[in-house]
Amino acid sequence: MIKQSEENSLKNFLILPSVLVLLCFLFVFFYGVYLSFTDLKLGKPTVNFAGLKNYIYLWKNPLFWKSTKLTVYFTLVAVIVQAFIGILLAKLFSTKVFFAKIFRPIILLPLVLPPMSVALMWTTMMNPERGVLNYFLSLIGIEPFMWISEYSTAMLSVIFIDVWTYTPFFTLIIYAGLLGVNQEMKEAAQEAGAGAWITFWKIELPFMMPYVLIAAVFRVIESFNQFDIFIGTTGGGPAKATTVYSIYAYIQSFQNLNFGRGTAILFVNWWLVLIGALITIKLYQMARKRVS
């Protein structure tokens, strides 16, 4: 019996290797935060504590503010558009029509492709001279479009790619939520004379909202950190039109070799992620309350 309880406490140590590995990453993260308060430059022999110098530099730098706007704009627009189309697609694919049944597995497709492959795929299709997208536009009489190659359209084009890639994420989660919508409530509403639209607005949508928002939490976090799709399409250009935080930090760190500034940008980004996620979680809790 004594051996038994000894082993019981010992067995909890099986979790240690995993926790240790992950703690290493946590340490690296905090080390990154520390670096943002230093003047570490690759190739420079000494590292000095610099206090808020990197942050003050960023505060005074117009590019940093531009980058802030771009990052927030990208995240907000991409996530909201994805949520809308995600709801529509989930509704569409949950109808009993023939094609919906056949094509349901296809929704998964964009999500399982490497984001870098997706980015490069669209880069070839968005080519202003030879891209197939401009060919389709020419068929309906629209002038060639510059897509990712022009300042005014670059960000929207990247958002378009992001929407193509991650809308299925919303669809998958909302679709599962829709399966749980109380059929009796729907029928009761219809019997009471409510039309399809009223049933959707009053019963289905409030029921879906928690699912929409939980998906949004994930997407908000990942959109703030989106890196692959920008590198694979615009690389932050043209003329810094798509220099979001991750790209800005990458340029500062690996082109200017200024690691202090790079980590400072990312630490600011980390706070934005946290705030964005918390707001979305708050909305999620409100939506949950409304349902129950």
């Binding site: 979790i15 990453f25 993260f29 570490l40 490069l120 070839t124 989660i173 692959d228 991750s246």
Partner: protein, 285 residues
């Protein structure tokens, strides 16, 4: 099935078809592009019907073709990054399984102080800002001399694979009735014996699916390989390099894209059920 032919039905079918085409067309187009010659890809309007060629795949894989093809002397050996991706992603999944399964089991079954905190800490890595970890990691890797090694890459990929494996194991173990283990413990079996001899066989179908999914997520990664490896860089990094030569090189890049996308598509067929669970991280039960 009642075949209900009316206008609304037709309209809905049409909408689904449009959505499906929007999803499938880009992938289909890239596949077509991979079979075109570099002259065909420069044609306007774009050609849809043409005589397909496998030359681009040869350029991608066969170093001896370099110089003799119309792409000039660009040398690519795409097999190398593919192998790198397989070794790094596969190795990372394996290591995660070895240390992660016991951890997931303990989180599911035992009760101790801070258990939920540790669980939350592990889950939190799904939200980790990867690039913020990469910059200091680059610094450490340079200092430790493990930049551009399989060892370093497999280790750093744990940040992607390990939390997923632990979390999915925990979910799967919680679905197994506890009575079996209790009987074994009464018979005096050790924890490791219970994990490997009783739990593991029961978990196998779930874990195979989970491993495929986690392998896929590792296969997706680009940023870690871009900054922490060069000769040992994964497929995603090699692909970006194929963009540089310009439009007439698109067919060769398309071949690389097709290969990088075929692997995940094959994996979905093997484990679709588990993918939905894993991709949505349990938001879908």
């Amino acid at each position: 099935m009642k075949f209900n032919f009316n206008l609304k039905n037709l309209f809905l079918n049409l909408l689904v078809l449009v959505a499906a085409i929007i999803i499938i067309f880009p992938i289909f187009w890239i596949f077509l592009m991979s079979l075109k010659s570099s002259a065909q890809v420069m044609e306007w309007p774009p050609v849809f019907i043409f005589e397909p060629t496998l030359d681009n795949y040869k350029v991608l894989f066969d170093i001896s073709v370099a110089g003799s093809s119309n792409y000039g002397t660009i040398r690519i050996n795409f097999l190398e990054p593919i192998l790198n991706s397989v070794i790094i992603s596969g190795g990372a999944v394996l290591v995660s399984l070895i240390i992660g399964i016991p951890a997931g089991y303990i989180l599911a079954r035992s009760n101790f102080k801070f258990k939920e905190d540790i669980g939350f800490f592990i889950l939190g890595f799904r939200f980790a800002p990867l690039i913020l970890v990469i910059i200091p990691m680059f610094y450490f890797f340079t200092k430790l001399g493990i930049k551009d090694t399989y060892f370093g890459m497999v280790w750093v990929y744990q940040v992607i694979t390990l939390p997923m494996i632990i979390w999915l194991t925990r979910v799967y173990v919680e679905d197994i009735p506890i009575e079996l283990e209790e009987a074994a413990f009464v018979d005096g079996a050790s924890v490791l014996h219970v994990i490997y001899k009783i739990i593991l066989p029961l978990l196998r179908p779930g874990l195979v699916g989970a491993s495929l999914l986690v392998f896929l997520l590792a296969w997706h990664n680009f940023a870690l390989g871009l900054l922490l490896a060069s000769k040992k860089a994964p497929v995603t990094v090699a692909l970006l390099k194929l963009l540089n030569p310009g439009i007439n090189f698109y067919p060769v890049m398309a071949c690389g894209l097709v290969i990088s996308m075929i692997v995940p598509i094959l994996l979905i067929f093997l484990g679709q059920k588990h993918f939905v669970k894993g991709l949505t991280f349990g938001a879908v039960k």
